[in-house]
Symmetry: C2
Subunit: 547 residues, 2 copies
Amino acid sequence: MSAAENRVLMRSMGQNSIVQPLLTDLYQITMAYAYWKAGKHHGNAVFDVYFRKNPFNGEFTIFAGLEECLKFLETFRYSDSDIAYLKQILPACIEEQFYEYLASLTADEIKLYAVKEGTVVFPRVPMIRVEGPLIVAQLLETTLLNLVNFASLMTTNAARYRLAAGKLKLYEFGLRRAQGPDGGLSASKYSYVGGFDGSSNVLAGKLFNIPVKGTHAHAFITSFKCLEELNTSTLVPKQGGTTGDFLGNTLRWREKLSQLLNIVLSEVNNGELAAFVSFATAFPDGFMALVDTYDTVRSGLLNFCAVALALHDFGYRAIGIRLDSGDLAYQSQVARNYFNKIASEYSLPYFSELNIMASNDINEETILSLNEQGHCINSFGIGTHLVTCQKQPALGCVYKLVELDDEPRIKLSHDVAKVTIPGKKNVFRLYGHQFSLIDLLQRPDEVPPTNNQKVLCRHPFQESKRAYVIPSKVEDLLILFWSNGKICQKLPNLQEIRDNVHHNLSILRNDIKRSLNPTPYKVSVSDNLYHFLHDLWLDNAPIGELS
Amino acid sequence: MSAAENRVLMRSMGQNSIVQPLLTDLYQITMAYAYWKAGKHHGNAVFDVYFRKNPFNGEFTIFAGLEECLKFLETFRYSDSDIAYLKQILPACIEEQFYEYLASLTADEIKLYAVKEGTVVFPRVPMIRVEGPLIVAQLLETTLLNLVNFASLMTTNAARYRLAAGKLKLYEFGLRRAQGPDGGLSASKYSYVGGFDGSSNVLAGKLFNIPVKGTHAHAFITSFKCLEELNTSTLVPKQGGTTGDFLGNTLRWREKLSQLLNIVLSEVNNGELAAFVSFATAFPDGFMALVDTYDTVRSGLLNFCAVALALHDFGYRAIGIRLDSGDLAYQSQVARNYFNKIASEYSLPYFSELNIMASNDINEETILSLNEQGHCINSFGIGTHLVTCQKQPALGCVYKLVELDDEPRIKLSHDVAKVTIPGKKNVFRLYGHQFSLIDLLQRPDEVPPTNNQKVLCRHPFQESKRAYVIPSKVEDLLILFWSNGKICQKLPNLQEIRDNVHHNLSILRNDIKRSLNPTPYKVSVSDNLYHFLHDLWLDNAPIGELS
């Protein structure tokens, strides 16, 4: 599907229809009225979107959701029915003129800067900076946070699975357990962005052009009780010619293999074989079998191999098996061992390469543990843990006012992690020859760092922590994406965002990416910003703070 | 808004537009083809929807999402564009006739039985039973599970908060951290169903007629730096008459109160006071103030009380405060102490009753711990932990084939929890005089239990566990909701479902509902079903199982 067709389709389906100005917290509207009454609504505000802590006990996060934010800005407008609803729920004292004003609002006067979608980001680094009339900028808060938080969390989660799984294939299988229909759709989309190879979600495939995967479930296997239920037991060979007795061929192979693999034939389930034969005759070039319904080692594998060899006789090649319960490492090794024996006994080298997929309650730790134990799995189907981000189901992005009418604003807190870095800031990523070294936040009027020039980078809160850095490359992270009521950059497609994630992770040091005790990436401030921050803190701190 | 208007609105907004047949796993479609090829698609199938373990380490679950399932059945039909997409991604070997058949499918031949939405349910109890042509029943699986899983999880989570909070007010504030726009909307809806008093989510209010709440955020407070920024510092008295100097009045009160409450005036933040005055003059009858931006005890509370007393002079009554950081128990006690002092000093009894809301990272355990410590909080605003169900972000509902063409199906597993109870089953809830006692699953041809007649209830897997029960009341839990292509019951509105949750929890014993080490509720099978299950198990078990 072309991008244009896709847009038309998505619009006609109302994909984004609930992303609208009322998808917000009521206090945004009450604040808007108070700003309006106070005559502050035109004030020129700067808000930063950032988080305070990386998710999943990790030390990196991937920014995603930008395109959805920009599309929200395009359509930001209160409808007549929205205004009517607000009149119904807000106090009668609200002046009619305010509603007229609200109905006239658009995002045209907003400027939105952001890092590129798919970029690695770190605590305190503004991922988005929103500038413009206080009232509009404030009214955007909840919706923008909603759109960024889950998209970034999901992409980061998927990227962590990708790092754990190395070159193995990863498929997202979580729709049934996701947080609602759209939670499932977003999970499919952003797990692909984070590095998954595809999804079982057909609608996600249709809407986002993501590869879709799937074979059959246990219900398919148990729907067959015996071989007599088969109404199709013949198959036309791949090269054409006369229809042959596929079931007969399969049964002959099963008898032979039971000797080769030393499996008691009387223990093998015939309903399962009927299901496999049925599926193989429907998809002779796509035969992937779920082998654990009765007993993987004593039944499923033998039935699969018999069908796969019969398919071979008819000129087709089976794809592989799926394991959905039990000891995945052990079963995958038994399966690979069977496949190797057959490959060697019948001189069929491709049999050694048959795909083994595992899909039972897999999470990042399971994959890392399987890697340690040794296994013969080629691909993982991952559901619940991935799509709900079970390890940490929310990212804590916040939207903080840092400047109003050129005056910096600071939010103080006893908890230093909650103190905002005031004022509009530029963000630079400084690179060494291979990896990114450090992020540097500066005041907007400072001279930006340049290649091969040393620059002082300070810890924002600990005076003694500072160092000179000589970058080989400098990247200005915040790019203007929205201005004058329009998206002002060419937006990347999903594949390009996915490539950006891959690229970003490739230039991040391994010790920062690792799962166990990762090293924090450094986010620093310029000397100028350091003093600006601490002077303002002092000006605003109550006297009691000194104690 | 009337129900009809609401339906029109929701439809026009495409609220449910992504709930469509392609919102499914690909393997449902590949299985459908294999069934069709095998001539099994017309087989009369029975699928049960149930879960194996209650969420949140609890012993109960609330069933929700039924209305969304039924609406999905109403619109279940593959569109031309769906079929075109499937042709694109499925193997070329698939016969054209299958696509024609797929395009003709509807849910008209399906019968859907379910327990009433808002009913308490337990492991293994079928919440939904789907009967009908194998191919259609199978194609519904993923979407139905998606719609039931999060709705039930969210409702259960909310109900647990409700039990923990007793009579205190509970508001859902989680939109910004929810799993996507629809995740947020579902969270608002089902937390109301589970017993919350309202939400901050304006769109949820508009769509579902849920009470909406909200005042202002820290950004509002920090947007004011000093009193000079106020452009409105006057107010018209509630009874009418001449506009008075509201700010002046507030400042006089603040000075008096600083002595009464022994607070150093020089430490009190004037930007905060300006924000409060501004908000109070905009909402003189709805003044609820966020008091923790600078320092709750040394600044926020004094500023709030000054404004509240000034409002009183003008004939208005303040609502209360919100605490969003720090030690909530302690701060709420200080606040209540201040309010009491003022109430007594100026003979304003209502001041003692001012609302204290707490909203910082609250979860079920926080509420239980605050209850133990003692606190003076009246209401909680709850975000992340509630809406993402952080303690357990997914419910494991499954959809299992239990019968095909009148023959029972069983899925065996080394893990006894994963063994399905085969065959179509009726479900009865047996009541004592006050509480529900036990659930009983029977084969469909058995005589149902009746009031005051003893009936044998057996543990499904442990032979020695069985008992006679004499119920004072018997409820047949599974009701036919969908038949002949139509919803065949009057559906309750959201308020009625919420009432049903409340009623259901009121007849469940406290030891089953409690948070710490709850007692499991008993789910039993009839003697007949017990033997049916175990005979079938024996017939299907491989010989090796005996070892």
